[in-house]
């Protein structure tokens, strides 16, 4: 049951209980007032009857002398010279009044006393209707109030989900509207958290960009100078490491460009299957791969897509190189419609990567060997620029599975 239902029910029960207690109190009070009235009326009558009997020796007002039906408790009470009233039990209640008169006789009056007469019935009806009406009104108002409360909390939850999905500019305080209550303070706290996250992310981005920019000039100098070294094994080692360093800086700069949001897709029509085939061919040449390190499958007919082929090639190369380096060959590339799957035969991606996607400098995967974790981050960055969906998972055989799904064709540019 939702918050709205729960609050509604609680308000309903509490108000019903309160109304019930109130009704019982009012009814009891009314009943006892009526009893007092009847009692004093009977008492007045017996006094008048007693005066009349003293002077005329005739009982009036239906008074009787030594009534045999007189309740014994009343008889005992008046024998001591008192005047008394007594109400006999229900259902046919009667009000008695009696007094001792001359010659040791007892004069008594008896009158009917209905527990509920018309006026009490009217009171009952009024209390019942008023009670039900009030409870219904309370229930309605509480459901409306709880509804607006729960709507605001739902808005906060929605904002939290948007933040989790990466929209760090989402504002919960805006979503819940104005007010100074706990929901507002929850929203404010959430916004503070998001802005602190934003700050951290911003710091991470700035760090990446700064490191990359500051390394650019010395690394360019180093690689250019390394190329000038005389031939020989030591020079080869230096050149190789300088090259690795240059690639790392290039990767960092590429990531910094994604972060700055300046990247745009350069769209062209390509046959996806044919293109993937030729891109894999180029990669084989570049990386000097064995022919059966990478296998390309085409399922169904080759689909023509409007996309940025340079980015597709970059994504593919990074996924394949990652599979070869951290998984096991052969890496199988399957093209089916607008989907490209890259599967290796290693131990699969770490669960953290599958759940959260790639993060820079967090390869942290003992089972997949060391790496700086930039290749997949770059692949994900390019996929985002293409509007494509790049997901990481496990292949049925246990290897790593990366799936790139290109967006459906926008019909605008034909």
């Amino acid at each position: 049951m939702g918050l709205r239902g729960k609050l509604g029910l609680i308000f309903l029960l509490v108000s019903a209980l309160a109304i019930l207690v109130l009704c019982v109190a009012v009814y009891t009070q009314a009943q006892s007032a009526r009893l007092d009235r009847t009692r004093s009326f009977a008492d007045e009558r017996i006094q008048l009857a007693a005066q009349s009997y003293d002077t005329n020796d005739v009982p009036v007002f239906g008074a009787k002398l030594d009534d045999p039906d007189l309740p014994p408790q009343l008889r005992d009470a008046v024998l001591e010279g008192n005047r008394a009233t007594f109400k006999t039990g229900s259902p046919h209640a009667k009000m008695w009044a009696a007094v001792a008169v001359k010659d040791g006789k007892i004069l008594s009056i008896e009158q009917d006393y209905e527990t509920s007469d018309d006026s009490m019935k009217a009171l009952q009806r009024a209390l019942l209707l008023g009670g039900i009406g009030t409870v219904a009104l309370v229930a309605l108002v509480s459901v409306i109030l709880a509804g607006s409360l729960s709507k605001r909390i739902v808005a906060v939850a929605g904002t939290a989900r948007r933040i989790a999905a990466g929209d760090l500019d989402a504002s919960a305080a805006e979503a819940v509207g104005k007010g100074k209550d706990e929901v507002q303070s929850l929203a404010t706290a959430l916004d503070t958290m998001a802005s602190s996250l934003r700050g951290q992310l911003e710091a991470e981005r700035r760090f990446t960009a700064d490191v990359a920019h500051d390394l650019r000039t010395p690394v360019t100098g180093l690689t250019t100078a390394a190329e000038l070294l005389p031939p020989g094994r030591p020079s080869e080692l230096v050149r190789d490491r300088a090259k690795v360093l240059r690639r790392l800086v290039e990767d960092l700069l590429e990531i910094a460009r994604f972060d700055s949001g300046v990247e745009q897709a350069d769209l062209e029509l390509v046959g996806l299957g044919a293109f993937v085939g030729s891109a894999v061919g180029r990669l084989r040449m570049q990386q000097a791969l064995a022919p059966d390190d990478v296998i390309v499958h085409q399922l169904g007919t080759d689909e023509t897509v409007s996309t940025d082929s340079r980015r597709i090639e970059r994504i593919l190369a990074n996924l394949i190189v990652n599979g070869l380096r951290h998984g096991k060959p052969p890496v199988e590339v399957t093209v089916s419609g607008r989907t490209v799957e890259v599967v290796d035969h290693g131990n699969g991606y770490p669960e953290e990567l599958i759940a959260e996607g790639p993060r820079r400098f967090r390869s942290g995967m003992a089972e997949r060997g060391v790496g700086h974790g930039l290749g997949l981050t770059i692949a994900a960055g390019h996929a985002k620029v293409l509007g494509a969906d790049l997901t990481f998972g496990a292949a049925p055989g246990g290897g790593a599975l990366a799936r790139l799904v290109l967006p459906a064709e926008p019909e605008t540019h034909l």
Partner: protein, 221 residues
């Protein structure tokens, strides 16, 4: 070669000299312009980030008087630099940190465009003068005239125009043009094509070359 970092300057100079180039260097923009006027080089390699007068201003200044091929050295990660450099008249660019092989290949490609290409035979048809609307292309003299007026094109722009003239009415994609004009076997930046086409259009008439969205460009006869 204009480069403010001493190590890069010296190492690149040595590398280029190994590849047979005569290299004159400059440390900043003003020195660059001074040297350029004195020696009139065959190709200019120009860093964008320079103390004082920056590479883009130097490029613009050189373009005022010369169609010499210019290769910009852009800081990778600064997207705007590339576009600004190309708009200022650069023919191509490499990004720092660059691979010396790539740099040499780029320099070769722009210089090949600058000298007449012996591999491409002149078209067999007629006098070698073709016209497209008010535009005349003289393949033998390598001259372009618009309504009789000579239009000054850089080698890259000329090569681009010739590529279109070889395929009148055919849509050429960016990657085709990158391959045929810039000698990129693969890859290359689509903005090279876009910016050069913008510049070519301002010189030969904006509607002479038509954009076919999602496909590329074509020359209108």
């Amino acid at each position: 070669m204009v480069e403010d970092d001493a190590v890069i300057r010296e190492a690149t100079q040595l590398t280029l000299e190994r590849h047979g180039y005569d290299v004159t260097t400059a440390e900043d923009g003003l020195e660059a312009i001074e040297r350029f006027e004195k020696i009139q080089p065959d190709v200019v390699m120009l860093d964008i980030m320079l103390p004082g007068l920056d590479g883009i201003s130097v490029c613009r200044r050189i373009r005022e008087a010369s169609t010499v091929p210019i290769v910009m050295v852009s800081a990778r990660g600064d997207a705007l630099d590339v576009v600004l450099g190309l708009e200022a008249g650069a023919d191509d660019y490499v990004t720092k940190p660059f691979d010396t092989q790539v740099l040499v290949a780029r320099l070769r490609a722009v210089m090949r465009r600058a000298v007449s290409d012996p591999e491409r035979p002149a078209p067999a048809t007629g006098s070698g003068v073709e016209s497209f609307g008010d535009l005349e292309l003289d393949r033998e003299a390598l001259e372009v005239r618009r309504s009789g007026q000579t239009v000054q094109l850089t080698p890259t722009e000329l090569k681009l125009l010739i590529e279109f003239a070889n395929n009148p009415g055919v849509v050429l994609s960016r990657s085709t043009l990158l391959q045929r004009v810039w000698d990129y076997e693969w890859g290359g930046d689509g903005r090279l094509v876009d910016v050069h086409l913008q510049r070519l259009r301002t010189k030969i008439g904006a509607d002479r070359i038509e954009t076919v969205r999602g496909f590329g460009y074509k020359l209108r006869a």
